[in-house]
Symmetry: C2
Subunit: 324 residues, 2 copies
């Protein structure tokens, strides 16, 4: 099957009516975006997924299609943007129809759930590689950034942390889970992350800063601290985690919640006066949110254990150029 | 060197003032695009480059950085868009500083020449893969499309065709060039294509259709014919070619000009009444343009040789999923 047949067969949904934000979709040299709402701006982000780094060869194609878009939607969520359009560039070792059918199914299910349209892209032969670029819109001045945190703000995280890392450790053979159902739950967290788009939208005008947790909580919090010029104290043992993870040894819990990676939760700050409003935003978006610490003028990151004592934690954050 | 250090060292030019079209560049979860000019729209295109398919392992990193952006700018050119912003996603087998320094030098030299800003992206370990997504703007209703060609229109192509394919055939060992300078010239065409951005802009409101020639003239002309619902007659032996290629055997000339691939010239149509205006656009953009045929109501593509006789040509267009 040639490149153009592939595109037509699995990715060109010509019968789909144009979605908001799209003036011209797949099929020309460029896609054309419709103007955003008056006063709004376009936001853009790209993520590339490589086998062995961002997913394992064992992942089902449908879940891979989901994840490839989910990690990009998570970047829009972290900025409080409404998803509009995306491009997909795909390198494949061979034109494997079963793979492509599953991949497209998972991709489009998530795309349709968020009203985001595939508007273009590229396919080529090569080692498996998936690069998606997402575009979304947000009112000018309401984009959530990493740089807006202030000393005194509360620090929050959505959902729960660490299950994706737990699954990775099982795949690596360093952790064993007794029940198959437990492994499937952890694996699902790793392979099917939920981008927190609705929460991001609900936090516009409310959160002082936000980032999505993709490289581990501590690493990503470090970006907020550096960009905002503040420090933080985090209640390490109060970080939200699944019942499954809470049943593991404490050292493993800390590794997974603090340095896990692949969580795709939102880490954000808001002033204490906004606590009720944050809870209301969480409720409105049906997304659990936990207050995990406080931002402070003193630079640096301080971790506290369950007894309130200082916790020394030197595990590096997940880095795609290191074997972690 | 870790991922964040790599980004900072080679790709984050924080001191660069924000360029037109950019409200927030590298360094947050998303980049923010400034609104386009009143009445204009954003255009988007993605291309992925894989070693052995789109470039050879022997290419100098600086030329690879140039080419990766050039092929994307060529898509904007084909739509008549002004380049504004791009994202770069890069998978690298290892953090090779000499490679990255050269790659960034070639990339930014071309980016600066076209006033397009790097606003975000991704880096990861993995088999070498380069995915760039470009964004540009054009006045609504003036975007050049593949679908606007009409029977009776003239057909044109910019620059010259076939040198990139000639170089590829030399690398493959199927062609030998006697003079080293000849090989270098052909190789330069393959590795350092010139995106015809200025010509694309000059053709707004003038060309009835346009596409960039990336997969071979015949294959790309086929897209215009299919989208526009027209046929064409092309003077095959009158296609513009370099003196170097014109000195090769006729069969090789035809292969390279008709089915070459990697030309990145603009193929476009315009009504006969616009001939003077097309010449003026070519002159204004300092880009050679050659009239190569005519669009007709009769479907299909007809080739004529130098004597005006029908030329039967069955070489398939370059397809990234076939060994051609």
């Amino acid at each position: 099957m040639g490149e153009f047949d592939l595109i037509k067969r699995f990715f060109a949904r010509a019968s789909t009516p144009l979605q908001p934000g799209v003036a011209l979709g797949v099929g020309d040299d460029c896609a054309v975006l419709a103007p955003p709402a008056p006063g709004a701006q376009w936001l853009v982000s790209s993520d590339m997924l490589v086998e062995g780094r961002h997913f394992l060869a064992t992942v089902a194609p449908e879940r891979l299609g989901h994840k490839a878009l989910a990690v990009n939607l998570s970047d829009l969520a972290a900025c409080g943007a409404t998803p509009r359009a995306f491009t997909l560039a795909l390198a494949l070792p061979r034109a494997d129809e079963a793979f492509l059918a599953g991949f497209a199914r998972g991709l489009f299910a998530l795309a349709d759930a968020h009203g985001i349209a595939l508007v273009g892209g590229d396919t080529t032969a090569g080692p498996l590689n998936i690069c998606i670029t997402v575009m979304g819109e947000a009112p000018a001045g309401q984009v959530l950034l990493r740089s807006g945190a202030r000393a005194g703000d509360d620090l929050y995280v959505s959902g729960s942390l660490g299950d994706a890392r737990l699954a990775l450790e099982v795949f690596r053979g360093s952790v064993a889970l007794e029940r198959g159902a437990d492994f499937e739950a952890a694996r699902r967290a790793m392979e099917c992350p939920t981008p927190r788009v609705a929460l991001g939208l609900a936090l516009r005008g409310l959160a002082s800063s936000a980032i999505d947790v993709s490289d581990g909580l501590l690493g990503d919090l470090g970006h907020i601290l550096a960009r905002s010029g503040v420090g933080a104290t985090v209640q390490a043992d109060a970080l939200p985690r699944s019942a499954l993870l809470a049943g593991q040894p404490l050292a493993l819990q800390r590794l997974c919640t603090l340095s896990g990676g692949d969580d795709y939760e939102l880490l954000f700050s808001a002033p204490p006066a906004a606590r009720d409003a944050v809870l209301a935003a969480a409720a409105a978006s049906a997304t659990p949110v936990t207050r995990i610490g406080r931002l402070e003028a003193e630079p640096g990151l301080r971790l506290r254990d369950a007894a309130g004592a200082a916790l020394d934690w030197s595990e590096p954050s997940f880095d795609h150029f290191k074997v972690s």
